[in-house]
């Protein structure tokens, strides 16, 4: 018997019908006529600001014009030329902070051209035809190891494969795709899109994937350097920051990344247990994804608590509003102080904070939130530095993605250049591939 009012953490809060409805596509694909109207709104700007705002520099006005003339396949090619994961980026990019924020129609009327949805229309059209629009150049005779089969690694591998180099991807997980497969809210990647996209990308040929091979455990840089002409690291941030307050060991406290992963990998959402009162600690996209999905699973009260003000939250205003729209309560300037409960967590004690000359200070005033489940989403960390020079918490790279070690490039979330966006990871993987190719072909 499904019931939202079961206390504690329980599965089966909502009917399977309701769950299915809750976890459908967040943004439905544009219908054919909507496509025409949406595409017609693009002004085909000169030196368009949206392109400047896109980390992968997709020629947005051109692809929208190609859509408007009835050639979405050509549009897809324009997109994939710059971003081979354009299909996923169309779903997960915070366009409201990137291309659509820069759109002149956003400035003019507060309604940008729907670039993300148009991109999805183009990429979906081509991918559904089950064709791969690229072929491989003559073999370079080189081989490159890519560590990490997430957006950065896949992008790098594909570009190298196109250029004629053979690639082996080593991925720590049973499936490739990285955060696309494990770390994005389920309603942003429906119908196994991440897995299908990987399959489609690999159809270029010349890329082998070795799953369940983790850096520092099953493979190491010395061996890879010996066996391959170059190495690209796109290992992401595999570790999570732990909450350091009293009561963290209580049942019902877990990290949000793992929760999101379970949601993505399950075949039956009704089996996922969720609390009646859920609190998510953090201020990024992971916090939003965990909170919204908690609500969609049937949690009665879901609260995001963030220690700084709204403006400091790394989740965009759009994402904050998305959470609010789903009934998630957002609390700002509160930090966790202690978890209470007899064995299982029952209450989260928080303390208000205030900004004092740029420093966050606790005010001494506290409050208590009922919580039978607490997710922490307070940042992710590099799992291994592989003896490379770090810059802050990440692997130091130059503008071409080269690390401190010759023959080893890095990109995506693990690299110092990254900004924790899928689209940036794709750009860095692509650019590193070009630099690897240039380096390997020197004198050839």
């Amino acid at each position: 018997m499904t019931s939202q009012m079961i206390s504690g953490i329980a599965a089966d809060r909502l009917s399977s019908h309701k769950l299915k409805e809750n976890f459908t596509d967040l943004h439905a694909p544009l219908q054919p006529h909507e496509v025409k109207v949406a595409a017609d709104r693009c002004y085909f700007c000169h030196d368009a600001p949206c392109v400047t705002a896109c980390p992968t520099d997709i020629d947005i006005p051109l692809f929208i014009r190609q859509i408007s003339t009835g050639t979405p396949e050509a549009a897809a090619k324009t997109i994939f030329d710059m971003n081979i994961l354009g299909g996923m980026c169309a779903r997960v990019c915070p366009t409201e902070d990137l291309c659509e924020q820069a759109c002149v129609r956003e400035m003019a009327e507060g309604k940008p051209v729907e670039i993300g949805r148009l991109q999805r229309h183009a990429t979906d059209t081509l991918m559904m035809q089950d064709v791969h629009p690229y072929s491989r150049a003559a073999s370079t005779g080189k081989k490159v190891a890519v560590v990490g089969g997430g957006p950065a690694g896949l992008s790098c591998a594909h570009r190298l494969a196109v250029l004629g180099t053979d690639v082996t991807i080593y991925d720590a997980r049973p499936k490739a795709g990285g955060l696309n497969e494990y770390g994005i809210a389920a309603y942003k990647s429906t119908n196994e899109f991440a897995a299908k996209e990987v399959e489609w990308l690999l159809s270029i040929g010349g890329i082998t994937i070795e799953n369940n091979k983790a850096l520092g455990k099953d493979i190491n840089l010395d061996d890879l350097g010996h066996d391959f002409d170059a190495v690209f690291l796109g290992v992401g941030l595999g570790g999570v920051n732990a909450l350091d307050i009293g009561g963290c060991d209580k049942l019902g406290v877990s990290d949000a990344v793992a929760f999101i992963e379970i949601l993505r990998q399950t075949s039956d959402l009704s089996t996922i247990p969720i609390g009646r009162n859920v609190v998510v600690i953090g201020g990024g996209m992971t916090a939003i994804d965990a909170a919204v999905q908690s609500k969609l699973l049937g949690a009665e009260q879901v609260t995001i608590v963030y220690r700084r003000g709204r403006e400091a939250m790394s989740a965009s205003r759009y994402e904050q509003d998305l959470a609010a729209k789903h009934g998630v309560k957002l609390m700002f300037n509160v930090q966790p102080k202690r978890l209470h409960g007899n064995g299982a967590v029952a209450m989260l004690e928080l303390e208000y904070t205030a900004d004092k000359n740029g420093n966050l200070e606790a005010t001494g005033e506290t409050l208590h939130l009922s919580a039978d489940q607490v997710f922490t989403a307070i940042g992710q960390t590099l799992k291994t530095n592989a003896s490379l020079t770090l810059e802050g918490p990440k692997i130091a790279v130059n503008s071409a993605g080269l690390t401190s070690r010759a023959g080893v490039w890095a990109g995506g979330d693990c690299a110092s250049s990254g900004d924790d966006l899928t689209v940036t990871a794709v750009a860095e993987g692509r650019d590193a591939a070009m630099d690897i190719h240039k380096t390997l072909m020197k004198g050839a």
Binding site: K36, D40, Y43, C45, H46, D47
Partner: protein
């Protein structure tokens, strides 16, 4: 409250909006609905000679140029004149005119270019009590292959001859509908006038192939894999029609000849423009076929509001008002100097003005790193392209340069004198004198 009543050739109608001879006026049922909706008059769909009526194709008759939101921009048709019997049409015309005495009822006619054919049909039409006739010398497809429609309209002598027969055998006003598929519309208009026409109406549709199906390689609309040119109408043809109207209104020979304006009238504004170019009324088809008869209500309210705002109490007040300002290029004042001006507050930095000017015009717009666009007065020839490609209305405007100031492009002082090409030193005609 403005009075929209029009008196065209003595034919009164409550407003200047008539439905053109076309599919919407083919039947009593439609015309009654049109009058109920408020149309001032109709030109009944063209009648042919007695006997078995023409037949239409049984496949698609229309093709359209659409805007992105399926807005109908241009309509092409291959429909012929009425395919119903003459008797039925005449009976219906009689009934409708009897029931709507305050509306204009014009009957369009197309019969072979033989005197007897006209002599036969005109008394029958006269008997309906309709207010006048319109001679269809414009239909560009199908009928023209049989020596009628545009085939007559393209030969001024035929126009004059048939018009004369009509004036001879019919007592009420005769309107001659002109085809645009000619080189100089003034010649057929003058021929109509010589034949005694009371008015001309224009334009009929323009020869057109609306699209080609790239799979079947057939023009559209396709009938079993083949297409034929049709007649083009709708908003897209309005500029062509207005130019032709203005030529007739301006030509000394035809000046003052009453004109019924046809071609892409979709809103009150279109109608007002036609009237300023000398039309006594307008005829509408595509707008009605796109939106239904109710669309006339906007035309009536809009024209009425505008007339009130301008202080026009009757249609006569502004009829032909733009004719004195419609002239030949050679008469345009070459000492009128303007420069584009970009309102930076309105600019949304799309850069379309820059791309257009830099690539295709005079390199007269500068673009800064922060996407500020400014006009370079020393290069700007005031071509207006930036104004027209700018997506923000009135963001870029053409500002007249004050007399006595220096035009930075030419280095010359802007003269207050009027001077045109006829007196310009570069004009070889002037030098020869």
């Amino acid at each position: 409250m403005a009075d929209l009543t029009t008196d065209f050739l003595g034919i009164k109608s409550p407003n200047p909006f008539w439905l053109a001879s076309a599919p919407p006026t083919d039947k009593e049922y439609n015309v009654r609905r049109a009058f109920e909706a408020g149309w001032g008059g109709v030109v009944w769909k063209t009648l042919g000679a007695e006997g078995p009526p023409v037949v239409n194709v049984n496949g698609p008759r229309y093709g359209v140029i659409h805007g992105a939101d399926r807005r109908v921009l241009g309509l092409n048709n291959i429909e012929l004149i009425t395919d119903r019997s003459l008797e039925v049409n005449l009976e219906e015309i009689t009934r409708v005119k009897r029931d709507y005495p305050d509306r204009a009822m014009i009957v369009s006619i197309m019969v072979p270019c033989e005197e007897q054919a006209w002599k036969d049909i005109l008394p029958k039409v006269e008997a309906t009590g309709a207010d006048g006739i319109e001679l269809n010398f414009g239909c560009p497809h199908g009928m023209s292959e049989r020596g009628m429609g545009a085939a007559v309209g393209q030969v001024p002598e035929y126009i004059e001859m048939v018009t004369r027969w009509c004036k001879q055998y019919y007592s009420k006003p005769v309107i001659v509908k002109l085809t645009p598929n000619i080189t100089d519309v003034r010649l057929p208009a003058a021929a109509a006038q010589r034949g005694g026409a009371d008015a001309v109406s224009l334009i009929n549709t323009i020869n057109s192939i609306i699209s080609v199906n790239l799979d079947s390689m057939s023009p559209e609309p396709s009938i079993d894999g083949k297409g034929s040119h049709g007649g083009y109408c709708g908003p897209a043809v309005k500029p062509i029609a207005m130019s032709m109207v203005s030529e007739i209104a301006r030509a000394p020979e035809t000046a003052g000849l009453p004109i019924s304006g046809i071609g892409g009238v979709t809103t009150w504004r279109d109608a007002a423009e036609y009237i300023t170019l000398g039309c006594g009324n307008v005829q509408v088809c595509t707008a009605a076929m796109t939106y239904g008869f109710k669309v006339v209500q906007e035309m009536i309210s809009g024209l009425s509001q505008w007339m009130d705002e301008k202080g026009h109490t009757t249609i006569q007040d502004f009829m032909g008002a733009a004719i004195p300002n419609t002239t030949d290029w050679k008469n345009l004042n070459l000492n009128y100097i303007a420069k584009a001006e970009i309102n930076q507050d309105d600019c949304i930095s799309c850069g379309r003005c820059y791309a257009a000017c830099e690539d295709t015009s005079h390199q007269a717009i500068a673009m800064s790193d922060d996407r500020t666009f400014t006009v370079i007065d020393s290069e700007c020839v005031a071509c207006n392209l930036c104004v027209e490609v700018c997506p923000v209305e009135n963001c870029i405007t053409m500002v007249e340069q004050e007399k006595g100031t220096v035009d930075l492009r030419t280095g010359k002082t802007v003269s207050a004198d009027y001077a045109n090409w006829t007196t310009h030193p570069n004009n070889p005609g002037v030098a020869a004198e």
